[in-house]
Symmetry: C2
Subunit: 394 residues, 2 copies
C-alpha cells in the first residue's frame, strides 16, 4: 500500500488513535463524552472501545458518572500492558526513564559519567548496561516494551549515527547500530535523536503548555540548541538537523565558538560563556550555575550584569526564531530555566525590539517546568507516540 492512499484499515487505525488521544487528554470520561469529542458515532465508539479494552490500552474504572437514568461507566487509559523507555546521554551523565502507556512513571534513574573524556565506545557500554537494567525492570512489571529512544547532544542522522556532538567529543559514531548489537537486536524499535528535538516533544506532550501547535524549546547546557514543533509536528528537515540556533553568527567580532567559527550565538549566550564571563570554572557547570544563582540572589552587580548580557544575546536568538518560524511559544529550558528570573526580562526586551511582526507575532516566552530530565521524557514520548499514530501492537 502506498503512503499516498488510504484503505479501510487506515480509517480504523485513525479512529483507534483518535479515541486514545481523546482519553489521554480527558480521562476519565464516558463513551458518550468520547463520541461528543471525536465526532464518531455510538456504534463505532462501542466497537473501538471494546477493541482497545481487549488490547489492554484502556479500561473501565470503578467510577460512574451521576446522571439521569442509568449511570455511565467511565473509561481511562490502561498502563498495565505496555511501556516505553527513554534515555539521555549528556556531559552530565546518563538518564533512563520508563513510563507505562498511561503515562505513569515506572522508573527514573541517573548515573554520572562516563563524561566527555571517555569516548563513545565506553559511553556505549555504560548506556547499554543501563538500558538492559531498565528493560529488565520494565519486563519484571509484566509490561511489553514498545520502544527505546536515546537522546544525544549533537547532530543525529536518519540512520542513528551521531555525526557531530561537540560536547561529548564525538564525530561520526554509529550509535544506533552499535546499541542494537549491544542489546542483541531487541524486537521493539530502538531510535536515536537530537536532545533538543526530544525536549521540544516533551514540552509538547507533558509540559504546562502541552498541545501548543507552534512551539520551540531552547536548552542551555554545555551547548545551546533548539527543537521545533510546527503545526503540531516535530520539524525534522532534510537529514534531521533542524534547530542549530547555537551556531547562528550573531557577533561577527565576538569570541571563537567551540565549533571553531567566530561569533556563534552559543559563544556569547551559552551557559559556559556566562560562566567564563564570571571567571568561574566550567568543568562543573551545575556547581557554577548554583554559585551564579546564589550571587545573583544576593544582588552581586557583576553577576547581575553578566546575566543581563547573556539574556540580551539569548533574546537575539529568540527574536531570530520568532522572525523565521513565528512560534506561539518559546520555552527556555536546562540552565536557562534555572536562571530564568534574571534572563527573562532581557530576552523579552530583545524579542519585542527585534521581531518584525507586531507583538512578536503572538510569541510568548516561558520557562520550562520539566527540569533536566526533559530529553529522556521526550525520548519516552517519541516511543509512546507510536500508539497515538495508530501503530498499535497486537
Amino acid at each position: 500500500m502506498s503512503t499516498l492512499t488510504a484503505g479501510y484499515s487506515d480509517v480504523r487505525a485513525t479512529n483507534l488513535s483518535a479515541v486514545l488521544g481523546f482519553l489521554r487528554a480527558n480521562a476519565p470520561c464516558s463513551r458518550a463524552a468520547i463520541a461528543g469529542g471525536t465526532g464518531l458515532n455510538k456504534a463505532t465508539i462501542t466497537n473501538i472501545v471494546g477493541d482497545l479494552i481487549d488490547r489492554r490500552l484502556i479500561r473501565e474504572t470503578e467510577q460512574t458518572q451521576n446522571r439521569v437514568g442509568r449511570p455511565a461507566t467511565l473509561l481511562e487509559l490502561d498502563g498495565s500492558a505496555y511501556a516505553a523507555i527513554g534515555m539521555e546521554i549528556s556531559a552530565r551523565g546518563l538518564t533512563a526513564i520508563a513510563y507505562d502507556a498511561a503515562g505513569g512513571q515506572i522508573l527514573r534513574w541517573h548515573r554520572s559519567g562516563p563524561g566527555r573524556g571517555a569516548g563513545p565506545d565506553k559511553t556505549l557500554t555504560a548506556t547499554s548496561a543501563l538500558a538492559r537494567r531498565a528493560m529488565a525492570a520494565v519486563e519484571a512489571t509484566g509490561r511489553q516494551i514498545l520502544g527505546l529512544t536515546v537522546g544525544v547532544p549533537g547532530l543525529v542522522d536518519r540512520d542513528g549515527t551521531v555525526v557531530l556532538a561537540a560536547g561529548l567529543g564525538w564525530r561520526d559514531y554509529p550509535l544506533k547500530p552499535r546499541l542494537l548489537d549491544a542489546l542483541s537486536h531487541p524486537t521493539f524499535s530502538v531510535s536515536v535523536d537530537n536532545d533538543a528535538n526530544l525536549s521540544a516533544l516533551a514540552e509538547y506532550r507533558y509540559g504546562p503548555y502541552a498541545g501548543t501547535n507552534n512551539l520551540i524549546q531552547i536548552s542551555g547546557d554545555t551547548g545551546l540548541g533548539a527543537g521545533v514543533i510546527a503545526d503540531g509536528r516535530p520539524l525534522q528537515g532534510n537529514l534531521g538537523y533542524v534547530g542549530e540556533v547555537g551556531h547562528l553568527r550573531v557577533a561577527p567580532d565576538g569570541p571563537v565558538c567551540g565549533c571553531g567559527r567566530r561569533g556563534c550565538l552559543e559563544a556569547v549566550a551559552g551557559i559556559p560563556a556566562l560562566v567564563r564571563r564570571l571567571h568561574d570554572d566550567t568543568d562543573d557547570l551545575q556547581l557554577a550555575v548554583e554559585q551564579i544563582v546564589a550571587r545573583a540572589s544576593a544582588g552581586d552587580s557583576e553577576t547581575v550584569k553578566a546575566l543581563l548580557e547573556t539574556g540580551s544575546w539569548l533574546g537575539q536568538g529568540v527574536a531570530m526564531l520568532a522572525n523565521l518560524l513565528n512560534p506561539a511559544l518559546i520555552v527556555l529550558g536546562g540552565y536557562y530555566a534555572t536562571l530564568g528570573e534574571w534572563l527573562l526580562p532581557a530576552v523579552e526586551k530583545e524579542l519585542q525590539g527585534q521581531a518584525l511582526a507586531p507583538q512578536a507575532g503572538g510569541c510568548k516566552v516561558a520557562l520550562s517546568a520539566l527540569g533536566h530530565d526533559i530529553t529522556a521524557i521526550g525520548a519516552v514520548a517519541r516511543s509512546l507516540d507510536q500508539l497515538d499514530a495508530g501503530r498499535i501492537p497486537g
Copy 2:
C-alpha cells in the same frame, strides 16, 4: 465530523486525490500504471477513474499504449471544467494568471502601478478591476473558477489582513474582506497570502526541483523574504508570519533598515542596498538591476565587488536558514536569480563555512527558473491544491 477522526468518505477523498496527484506527475498513463503507482487495487481504480472522468477532472486520450494483448487506453488530466486565478500585488504592479485544472495557462496579464504611493484603497480598486476581467475571461472559456489567491509583499494574518507591507507602505489593511466586497462575494474561495510563502509553493509545484520536500525560496525584490516548505507542506507558524529572514540582525553596526531597526539582513543583502552601494537610483529597481548586469558582464570592478559583498551577506542569511531548518534546497529568486552568476559563489562559500552540519546538511543552492511571475504562479497553485487535498467540487 471531528478533524481527529476519519470516515469512509475521507478514504474516498484520499484515494481520488492520490489518483489525481499521480496523474499530475505521470500523465499520460494507463489504469494499470496508476494501480502500480498508488497501490490501489484494480476495482478501486476503475471506480475512481470513472468518477474523475464524470467530474471532468481526467479524461481518456486518443493514445493507446502498445503492449501484448489488448491495447491500454491512456489517461490524462482534463482542464476543461475548472480553473484557478492567482494574482500578485507588488511595488512593480499587478499580475493576474489563470491556469486550468490540468495546469494549462489560460491568461497571464501584467499592469504597472498603482505603486507604492497610491495607498491601499486605490490599489484595491485596480486589483478588483483586474480580478473581474480575469474572472470574466476564465468564465468565457466555460470553466468553473475554483479559487482566487492574491499574494502581497508583507505580513498577512489568517483573516487576510495585511498587517505590515513596508514596500507598499501599508499597515493593517483588511485586504481580503475589502476584496470580497469589491467582487460582490463570489461563490469560490478568495484568499490572501504572503508573496514569499506563495513563491515557495510555486517552486514546490512547478519549479525544476518540484517535489523537494524541504525547500526554501528566498526572493530579492524591494524586500527580502523567504517561504518554507517543510516535510512537503508550506510552513505557516502561529499567525502565518513564517520566513522573515530579511529582518534577522546580522550586522549590529550596519545600516538602518526600512523597518527602522539597525543591521537587518535586508539592509545589507537586499537588492535596494546593492543598488545604493553602487550609487544608483532605487526608484526603478528593474532598470538599476539591468545596468548592474551590464556593468558586471563588462567586468567593472566596483560592480563585481558590490555583488560579492551582497552575495556574502546573502550567504550569511542562507547559512542561518540551513542551520535552523536543514533544507535540502534553497532557491534564490527575483533579482537574486537575475544576478545569480555573480552572487552564487559567495553564497555557497558562506553556506559551507557557516553551516554546522557537514556539507551544510545536504543543502544545495539553486537559482529560480520561474521569473517574476512566481508569486502569481504560487497563488494559482494554492487554489488548485484544493483538488489535491481531495476537496473536489460536485
